[in-house]
């Protein structure tokens, strides 16, 4: 394997880590989708303030995920974002309305009233995870596009990436992609319940979240099993050393079997998620379920990114022209750029360390109604 290939694989690993962290942090959106279950203002305030101290991390991870994709695999950025226009625009709109809602909802003079902003949070809580899931699912199930780099020499029609006429709406209508999206949505809600149980010191919220956890975790497990079954039985696009691509039956199943270590990590992740959920449901005073479930989620998502990108697999198969499928080899930045960014990525552990430290300092005391009554800045 050449240095360039190693760098491409390394940056796919970074993308996997960012993607996995993003899925974990979608618990904020999961929590927002639960506002519908709470009518008492003080309980809603507890939920919103608990999530409100984390929303920017989710947001920043999404932005960094996009920026890192742009930098490391610009052809994906150009093809998927420019092609699946409506899908990505809907995702973006849902995050735009989230960004202001926390800060504005309880401020006097906010014009539209706090219910309006809570509704925006609810919309982002549902639309965000479902559509992000749909977007990620296109990496497994393919999309309607072609890439012709020499088009850039065509003065009249220079666009190199061309997408089907529905520009992303077809992905939302695809049942496999939608299944993936809904599964991510229930995962986000499950993680949100575990997070609230850990972060909020309030008996009523605690009881209601245990009930919601049972329902959401059940839905998630069923949907997860269905999604995994669909993925493992689906064909994928493989390519040889000269870059020739072709559809391969059971590609993702084969990848798990070839990369056995990924299969072990997948199983470990599943066990940890189930452990976090099960222990929380069975032991009333156990509040740490978010940790094993969160780590398990990250591990599972990591392996999903690995099987879709490694082992000579196209991570965005083209349904219109298999040779246009995007791979780590044909869509990445140059060796020089990947090297420069790899140097910068050495700082990532430092960034993670200070985030963890600040999170610890802010969360070691659980959130209570008393704290909200005695704070200057609340949502």
């Amino acid at each position: 394997m050449t240095t360039y290939n190693l760098l491409q694989n390394y940056w796919w690993l970074i993308m996997s880590v960012l993607g996995a962290l993003l899925v974990f942090l979608l618990m904020v959106q999961g929590g927002q989708s639960m506002l519908i279950h709470y009518t008492k203002p003080d309980k809603r305030a507890l939920l919103i303030n608990s999530m409100g101290r984390k929303w920017e991390l989710t947001y920043t991870t999404l932005v960094t995920f996009g920026g890192a994709f742009f930098a490391s695999f610009p052809l994906f950025y150009s093809t998927s974002f420019g092609g699946a226009y409506w899908l990505w625009m809907l995702i973006l709109f849902s995050f735009v309305i989230q960004a202001i809602s926390y800060e504005y909802r309880s401020k006097p003079g906010n014009i539209y009233g706090s219910r309006f902003y809570d509704t925006l949070l609810l919309i982002n809580g549902i639309v965000g995870p479902v559509l992000l899931g749909v977007a990620v699912a296109t990496m497994f199930f393919g999309a309607e596009f072609t890439v012709t780099k020499s088009n850039i020499l065509n003065v009249q029609a220079a666009t190199i990436s061309q997408w089907g006429p529905r520009h992303g709406l077809e992905a939302i209508a695809c049942w496999k992609c939608l299944l993936f999206g809904v599964m991510v949505f229930f995962l986000a809600r499950t993680l949100a319940s575990l997070y609230f149980i850990n972060n909020i010191d309030d008996d009523e919220v605690n009881r209601s979240q245990h009930k919601l956890l049972l329902v959401n975790a059940t839905a998630f497990v069923v949907l997860f099993l269905a999604t995994v079954a669909v993925i493992l039985t689906s064909p994928g696009v493989g390519y040889d050393d000269s870059g020739n691509a072709q559809w391969v039956p059971l590609k993702y199943l084969n990848n798990y079997l070839t990369m056995w270590w990924a299969l072990i990590i997948l199983l470990l992740g599943v066990v940890m998620v189930l452990l976090g959920i099960g222990k929380t449901l069975l032991k009333a005073d156990y509040r740490g379920g978010i940790w094993p479930a969160g780590i398990g989620t990250v591990l599972v998502v990591l392996t999903l990114f690995w099987v879709v990108g490694y082992n000579n697999t196209a991570y965005l198969p083209s349904l219109l022209d298999v040779q246009s499928s995007l791979t780590l080899r044909n869509s990445s930045s140059s060796e020089f750029t990947l090297t420069v960014m790899s140097v910068v990525s050495i700082l990532v552990p430092f960034v993670v360390a200070y985030i963890a430290y600040c999170w610890y300092k802010m969360d070691h005391k659980k959130l209570t109604s008393d704290e909200l009554d005695n704070t200057d800045h609340k949502y």
Partner: protein, 525 residues
């Protein structure tokens, strides 16, 4: 072709809309970030509860503004992909790197420490809290650094070479990209202008409170920091504006000519201090470009080159490839017609390269690659239909530039006056004519916003029709979308952002009004 033009226009309109909305909030975040960090530092050193109250008041305003800045910012990043997909591939190898660094280094710093800043007063030590406030401000400035590096690269593409095998530009030197003269001057000019805006905003709010004869002590404290930050900001903005002008003259002479409405250049070129353009003026029509103007002799030559004798080319000179040295000898520069011709030859060579590459003819590919890169600076001209297509909108560039400079000069005087009031508290409060300063301070806020937006209009409209200077015009940079799609999202953005802006203004006004009603430090007549 008409459809293509429509998509280009709507894509440009959408990007301009989101960028202008975003830039309404970002400079206040950058400016107030520094101001609240200084205020909290004073509180940390004095332990004065009054300074704490003042810091928290401005922090609330900062938080409201920050949120909407974040909301409008995410769209901008992703719009590079959604609406400018060809561009994303063509330069992603270079442009993406600063964006990724921005995410990893700056955004996480900002988003982590802002939570500590708002919610950590009772959870972390005062020293840690103060550090968090500073790190939030620094993180915001770092965010600006990387996106401005990326923008500067679009104005002056450097540190890269074209790879015909991948049909894109590839980075060859990160240092050349990050430290290009355009990037350095753009960063300092932009961030320091944001300090000015932050200072002007503080002065304006205090002006309103003082006009109502309330919050005297609070205003005194706020002005002490705000006016100093504003003055430092405008002085350094002016200085960096000078280096920006030199960089523009060197790398984007067409933009400089448009900024001045200069069609035919000269040695010892004067600069227009004030003027009205002839609206019917077109390049090469022989008409006088101005209906009226007041000029400063030698001004433009000196501004552009720091040599009052130097020749500054006008729009027609640039198109014709005419320039002179100080002795009056003609320098051979390339006319736009020639550049278009060379651009087309480059495209032919690229097609030949593609053929040679498919047949694995390494000798041919190596020689073609060398030839392509030797002349690559003319690549974008292949897409122009006529040389005049490369002229930006002269009236818009001219008027916004002169408005920016005029308001910049005014701001310098305004900040000095503000400091005079700060250190003459009796005048600030009791002199009857001080009331006029209060009103002036309020008016200065929208003026500063307009000044700031004008700077961006000069920078971006002045480089049209290029997305990347000389390499990629807008019509080649876009995504394969229908005009109707982009038009739809444009109007959705327009409605959503306007609604959010109304809420933002509503909250900020309410916070100011609340402070005015609850703070009992009223004027003691």
């Amino acid at each position: 072709m008409e459809e293509l033009t429509n998509v280009v226009d709507w894509s440009r309109a959408q990007f301009a809309l989101t960028a202008i909305y975003h830039w309404l909030f970002v400079p206040l975040t950058l400016g107030l970030g520094i101001i609240i960090a200084v205020m909290e530092t004073i509180y940390y050193r004095t332990k004065s509860e009054k300074w704490l109250a003042t810091t928290k008041f401005w922090m609330t305003i900062f938080g409201v503004n920050f949120a909407i800045g974040v909301a409008t910012g995410i769209i901008l990043e992703f719009e590079f992909g959604t609406n400018w997909s060809n561009y994303s591939w063509f330069v992603g190898d270079i442009f993406g790197a600063p964006l990724a660094v921005e995410g990893i280094l700056a955004f996480f710093m900002e988003s982590t420490f802002i939570a500590v800043m708002f919610f950590g007063w009772k959870k972390v030590s005062p020293k840690f809290h103060l550090a968090s406030t500073w790190l939030t401000a620094i993180g915001a400035s770092l965010s600006a650094l990387w996106i401005l590096v990326a923008n500067a690269w679009m104005q002056y593409p450097t540190g890269c070479e074209f790879n015909p095998a991948t049909m894109r530009n590839e980075m060859t030197s990160f240092a050349a990209v990050a430290l290009s003269p355009m990037a350095v001057s753009k960063f300092f000019h932009t961030v320091l202008s944001a300090w000015t805006l932050g200072g002007a905003f503080v002065c304006g709010v205090c002006g309103w409170m003082l006009l109502k004869k309330r919050n005297y002590d609070h205003c005194q404290r706020s002005l002490k920091v705000g006016a100093w930050v504003g003055l430092i900001g405008i002085v350094l903005t002016s200085a960096t504006g000078d280096s920006s002008a030199v960089a523009v003259a060197k790398y984007q002479p067409m933009k400089l000519a448009a900024m001045e409405g200069l069609y035919k250049g000269d040695h010892e070129q004067s600069i227009v201090a004030f003027g009205i353009l002839n609206p019917s003026k077109q390049a090469f029509d022989g008409q006088d470009p101005y209906l009226f103007n007041v000029s400063i002799p030698y001004g433009l030559s000196f501004l552009a080159t720091h040599d009052y004798k130097a020749f500054v080319p006008g729009i027609e000179d640039i198109i014709n490839g005419v320039s002179y040295d100080n002795e009056g000898n003609k320098i051979n520069t390339i006319s736009y017609s020639e550049r278009m011709e060379r651009g087309r030859r480059l495209q032919e060579m690229m097609a030949q390269y593609d053929q040679a590459n498919r047949s694995c003819n390494k000798v041919a590919t190596d020689s073609l690659k060398a030839a392509i890169n030797a002349d690559f600076k003319n690549f974008g001209y292949a897409y122009l239909d006529k040389p005049e297509e490369a002229i930006p909108n002269v009236p818009l560039t001219f008027y916004t530039f002169h408005f920016m400079v005029t308001v910049g000069g005014y701001l310098m005087l305004f900040m000095l006056l503000a400091l005079f009031f700060v250190y003459r508290p009796n005048v600030l409060n009791k002199a009857k004519w001080a009331r006029w300063w209060h009103i002036l301070a309020i008016i200065t806020v929208p003026l500063t916003y307009l000044c700031s937006a004008s700077g961006w209009i000069v920078a971006e409209v002045g480089r049209q029709p290029w997305t990347i200077q000389d390499l990629m015009p807008n019509k080649v940079a876009i995504s394969d979308l229908s005009a109707g799609y982009v038009q739809t999202t444009f109007w959705i953005f327009a409605v959503v952002f306007t609604a959010l802006l109304i809420a933002d203004i509503g909250i900020i006004c309410k916070q100011i009004s609340k402070k005015s009603q609850t703070d009992l430090e009223t004027v003691n007549d």
